[in-house]
Symmetry: C2
Subunit: 322 residues, 2 copies
């Protein structure tokens, strides 16, 4: 079976690639070809019996998506996109990559006419405040960012192209991914990972919001698990509503910190310094808190059970079990 | 004030144009220029003190939308689009006109940078079955047609472009327009108008569905009223959720026929012949029935109070009061 990953050089793309390389299989079939596409070269593992190719380019450029679709991949993971902050700061880039790129890929797959499974990473950014205490699966999407708007449009296209039989799409609305490996970034959500990642590495972390902030998290490992599960799911069970809010662990920042203390001790917790930042707080307080995710649960999608599990996954996957 | 109407040659476009010509005013200001755009020439009335231009072309063609935006219209009515049945039958045409054309217009207005009021005709086709008994304003849009998908994408773009201050958009989700003047067409909804229009003209009409079918209607006159009201509404009162489900009259087909009897007598009613059509019924039974439309009501949008009123509006507007 041939697999295509767009956005393969990103954090989730790399972890998905590593998982596929380790499994050698996907959706019950052996992987014989893996195409890794991104604007920069993605790390390419070797897989026994599989041809792994690294491809670079801009999906929205003429002919780029057609070249990928011409290989008739059986399963497509469409992860490519610019992130929320970038899509907000650069209007043209966001629409070009997140809308034009997605539409170009979907249209190329439509014209290739082999109806692959397409797994599309959407986001809880399709939702906009005000929110109920728990956001149900059928909450109306009213995004308050250009990124969320672009993801919503991708979802709508995915559903229509699936309904018409052009491909068999599953949209995965990811919650905040935590603990993100690597360095802090300028995203308003950066601290959710920072307050765990930095103390575990013996470094100080700043907490810009009150400990009462409630938010839903899933580990990078769970995010990859969602994608792999979506690749093999029976589309008939999903029905016409193809976009699914993923489960996660809903905890307050205070509960995150308590979990850190349980898993890594008092010393780690003391490295968190509260430095209120009104600008970050103004953004974060409009974010969704908790999701019902009943459809995803019923379809077998699973996240961690506790924030302790999320921290342990980070330690196992990033800190080599140290 | 300069006004632009796209889709000006369509049924609603013509009636809106006639209303503007009769009023001479819009949103409390005198109309000094009216641009009527469509793929075919729209009928152009004369308006005292106003320059009325008829323009033809394809909005999605290079430069077309830019030429319209360069005139810096104060109020834009974006009605242009291919209808539901056509968008379903011709995938490429539907996406080109309803998505690419809309986006081209919105982007041209963005780049013209004068932030006009934009009134966009969306549709209840953004909603897909299954439905609750009454569809609330915050029901999630999960369209089951390409037309509904394209309208949903237009709504999402409208909201994002408004949020960013590129223009001040109001999306108007029209219910079924009844009584449509003219001839029966191949739309599955055609009979809703046909069972009133044909008997009033002394002709037989076929009824393909059970009399128990419940559906929401607004007259062409009300649809024009919604558009005119939207042109003058205070955007600050609308808030970030820019797309509004319009009110209408929810009646069963049986109640439509009773209203016809009350308004036009027994003879008219006897011209309706029940000829069940499984294909039409299969489509119609998945359509939304009744809408809460609370936000639209609160913002001052008004439809008829009864189906009798809808029939009388048709008689007054189309049959010269006969």
């Amino acid at each position: 079976m041939r697999v295509l990953i767009t956005g393969a050089a990103g954090m989730i793309g790399c972890k998905l690639t590593a998982r596929l390389a380790a499994d050698g299989m996907l959706a019950g079939r052996r992987i014989t070809a893996l195409d890794l596409h991104d604007i920069v070269p993605a790390p390419a593992p070797s897989i026994d019996g599989a041809a792994v190719r690294t491809l670079t380019g801009d999906l929205a450029a003429a002919g780029a998506a057609e070249a990928l679709a011409a290989e008739r991949p059986d399963i497509v993971f469409h992860l490519a996109g610019v992130v929320s902050g970038e899509a907000e700061a650069n209007f043209d880039l966001g629409y070009r990559v997140n809308l034009d790129g997605t539409r170009a890929l979907f249209d190329a797959l439509r014209l290739a006419a082999h109806a692959p499974r397409v797994v599309f990473t959407s986001s809880i950014a399709v939702f906009g405040a005000p929110f109920p205490e728990t956001i149900p699966d059928d909450f109306h999407p009213t995004p308050l960012t250009s990124y969320g708007t672009q993801k919503l449009i991708g979802e709508a296209l995915l559903a229509d192209y699936t309904r018409r039989g052009f491909f068999d799409g599953i949209g995965i609305r990811l919650p905040t991914i935590c603990v993100r490996p690597g360095k802090p970034n300028k995203a308003a959500s950066s601290f959710f990972s920072g307050i765990i990642r930095e103390p575990l590495a013996g470094q100080e972390a700043l907490l810009p919001v009150p400990r009462s902030v409630l938010h839903t998290h899933a580990s990078p490992r769970s995010a990859v698990g969602f994608l792999v599960h979506a690749a093999g799911i029976d589309g008939g069970l999903v029905g016409p509503r193809r976009n699914l809010t993923m489960p996660g662990v809903a905890v307050t920042v205070g509960e995150q910190i308590e979990a850190l203390r349980r898993v890594a001790g008092e010393g780690a917790q003391r490295l968190i310094r509260e430095v209120p930042d009104e600008a970050v707080w103004a953004i974060v307080k409009n974010w969704p808190t908790r999701f019902a995710a009943e459809r995803a649960h019923a379809l077998g999608f699973r996240a961690e059970q506790s924030f302790d599990d999320i921290i342990r996954a980070h330690i196992e996957d990033e800190l080599a079990g140290v």
